[in-house]
Symmetry: C2
Amino acid sequence: MNPQYQDIAAAFVQSYYLHFDDNEKRQTMASFYDEETSLMSFEGQNLLGRKKIMEKLSSLTFQKIAHSITKVDCQPMFDGGVLVCVLGQLKTDEDPPHTFSQTFVLKPYNEGFYVQHDVFRIAVHDAL
Amino acid sequence: MNPQYQDIAAAFVQSYYLHFDDNEKRQTMASFYDEETSLMSFEGQNLLGRKKIMEKLSSLTFQKIAHSITKVDCQPMFDGGVLVCVLGQLKTDEDPPHTFSQTFVLKPYNEGFYVQHDVFRIAVHDAL
């Protein structure tokens, strides 16, 4: 298990949302994902591989987005990867903030990591 | 990758919360976890191994708890495991419902699975 998992998770989260929240940088996020094996679930839609994932990220229709991170939990995995669970709020354009959760599995690759699994959900419930 | 991953995730989620929401059954949840290697993050507190995890679950002070599951996202993992991300609401005693998210990594073991990673968070934010 990688003893640096907390630093790896913190650096990843900072870089990921910095890219996501900048309309130009978001177009360069392909390098976070593997060409063939990365899996994303985006609001229940499943996307496999870098190309499909980037098509999804490029198709999002907001003009502005801002993620505010509330908590980052991370755990070392037995293959040297890192499990990263993010809880936060996001604001798109002039909409009210929504709670979101996003889970990443980072997989070692060369000297760095790529996103093997990415699960994103906005918290919208039927009323209890 | 396990082609049954969706069925595995659905059966796991149903069984897990059925046990959790029953004060007697919750005491029998040790079999979900590995004695030495299971990792839990519970509201930021890290617990390693079945004994520590069960001590935590046994120390919870509510009289009644009910989870309501909004969404379950799952992905097959490359070692035959399953990533399971749960979004829902929970009610303890007479408190108002809170959004929670919980991520599991299920690892194959004999004919079944155990929980290798478990990350639980209630969504409480500072106001944006």
